[in-house]
Subunit: 249 residues, 2 copies
C-alpha cells in the first residue's frame, strides 16, 4: 500500500438493472471490498446496453479515477457488448484470445465451442485476463479498467482474484457510535460543531427506520487512528450529554 | 399517459453507499415502479456528499432526461446538503418554507423545532412539497427534479405520493421465456438472429447462477403487444427446437 489516496468508480452495464427486473447486488459488495483494501469508491454509474453510453461513461470515469470496475455484458449473447466497448474506448483492437479459449475449454468441449461462446473469449489487445473459477469465461483488465461479469457469484470470484494485484492507499478506518435513542434533530447542531472541529475526518449520521421508530448511528471515518479515536471520544461524550434530555419520540 | 417516450435518471447521494456501509435498496424499487408507469429509467449515478459533485451530476442528468429522482441528504445533519445543491443547480434561492414547517409540527413539538430540524424545512424557491407520512419532513419537486429521502421506507412513501402526478409514456411490456435448461452459449447465435428480426424490441438473456448450475431467462421488452407476442412465440419455438439437443451442463 502506498501513501497516496487511490480512487475508483464502478460502471454497471445492463438494461435489466435499469428496468428493475434484476436488483443489483454488486455495487455494495465491491464498495465494501474496496474500502477494506484502502481504495476510495467515489462514483457509480449504471447505463444501458448501448455502445455510445458505455463508451462515454468509460471515458468519463477512467480519466477521472484510479480504477474503474465494470460489471455485466461479457456473456455470449448479442446484448453482451462490454468487451467491444472497452476496446473502442481504449482505441485498441479486439479478437478471440487463445488464452481465453484455453480457459473456456476447461468447461466446454471443443466441439461445443461455437461462435457465440467464442464471443466470451474476445479480449481487447493488451489486456490481462482475470480467472473465473465458476464458468471459466474470464474477465480482464486493460489500463485502469477492470471488466467483470454481472452474475454476482462470478463477479465476486473475479474481484477476489483481481484485488490483490491492485495498489491500495492507506486504508480508511471507521468507528460507529450509537446515538443511544437520540433523534437526529436533537444532536445535529452539536454534531455539526464536531464535524467542523475535525475537517480531516468524514462524520456522517445515518438513520434507519422500522415501524418501532428511528435508530441513528454516527460514523466517523478517516486515515489517522489517533484523530479517529479523538473524534469518536468527543462524539460519545456529546451523545452522553444529550441523551438524558431526550423527551420526544 | 402520452405517446412520447418519457425518460428518467436516479441520483443517489451518500458517502455511506460508496463506502459500502449501507447497501442501496432504492434503485431497484424506483426502477420497478418507473417501468410500471411507463417511464424509462436510462441512467443511475451515485455520488459523494460533496456539493460540486452533486450539482454537476444534477445538471448532467436534468438536462438530458425527462425526470431526475434523487435519494438521500435531506435530513437535519451537517452532511445533508441535497436541498442546497438543488437550489444551486437551478440558480434559485432557498429558505425555511412555512408549509414544510407545518408538516414538521405534525410530529415535532414547536419548542423542539431547533435550527437543525428547521434545516429539513429548507426548500428551494418555487418547489412543490412531497408529503412524508412517516417522519413528516417533506421531499420536494422543482422543475423535473424530484428530491426524496434516503431511508427506504420514507423514500417509498414519497415515491407513492409523487408518481401519480408524473406523466408516463406508453408502458413497456415484457415477456419472460425460460430457457428450459439451455446454456446461453447454445442459443446465443439464434437469439441474435431473433434480435435482428425485432429491432423495435429489446431482447435480453439473463443468467442466474447457483451452485447447482445456471438457469437462463430470455426477456423481450417493447411497447407493441402484437410485436411482443410475435417475438415471444418465435423465441419459444427457438428454445423448443434447441432444448432436445442439450448435452452439456
Amino acid at each position: 500500500m502506498g501513501d497516496a489516496i487511490v480512487t475508483a468508480a464502478i460502471l454497471v452495464i445492463g438494461d435489466e438493472i435499469l428496468s428493475g427486473r434484476t436488483k443489483d447486488k454488486n455495487i455494495g459488495h465491491i464498495a465494501e471490498n474496496l474500502t477494506r483494501v484502502g481504495i476510495e469508491l467515489r462514483e457509480v454509474r449504471v447505463v444501458l446496453d448501448v455502445e455510445a453510453e458505455i463508451v462515454a461513461a468509460l471515458d468519463a470515469l477512467r480519466t477521472r479515477y484510479g480504477y474503474v470496475f465494470t460489471t455485466g455484458g461479457i456473456g455470449p449473447t448479442h446484448d453482451d457488448i462490454t468487451a467491444d466497448c472497452v476496446a473502442k474506448a481504449f482505441g485498441v483492437g479486439i479478437d478471440v484470445d487463445p488464452r481465453a479459449v484455453d480457459m473456456l475449454l476447461q468447461r466446454i468441449a471443443r466441439e461445443d465451442l461455437n461462435e457465440a461462446r467464442l464471443r466470451m473469449a474476445r479480449i481487447p489487445d493488451g489486456a490481462e485476463l482475470i480467472e473465473n473459477p465458476i464458468s471459466r469465461a474470464p474477465g480482464f483488465r486493460i489500463g485502469n479498467v477492470i471488466v467483470m461479469a454481472g452474475v454476482p457469484a462470478i463477479m465476486q470470484a473475479m474481484l477476489d482474484n483481481v484485488l490483490p494485484t491492485l495498489t491500495g492507499g492507506p486504508p480508511v478506518l471507521s468507528e460507529t457510535i450509537d446515538a443511544a435513542g437520540l433523534p437526529e434533530g436533537r444532536y445535529a447542531a452539536d454534531l455539526g460543531v464536531q464535524a467542523s472541529g475535525f475537517p480531516d475526518l468524514s462524520i456522517g449520521s445515518y438513520p434507519s427506520y422500522s415501524p418501532a421508530g428511528f435508530t441513528n448511528q454516527i460514523v466517523v471515518r478517516g486515515r489517522d487512528p489517533a484523530r479517529l479515536a479523538e473524534a469518536a471520544a468527543a462524539i460519545r461524550a456529546m451523545v452522553a450529554r444529550l441523551a438524558p434530555e431526550r423527551v420526544e419520540s
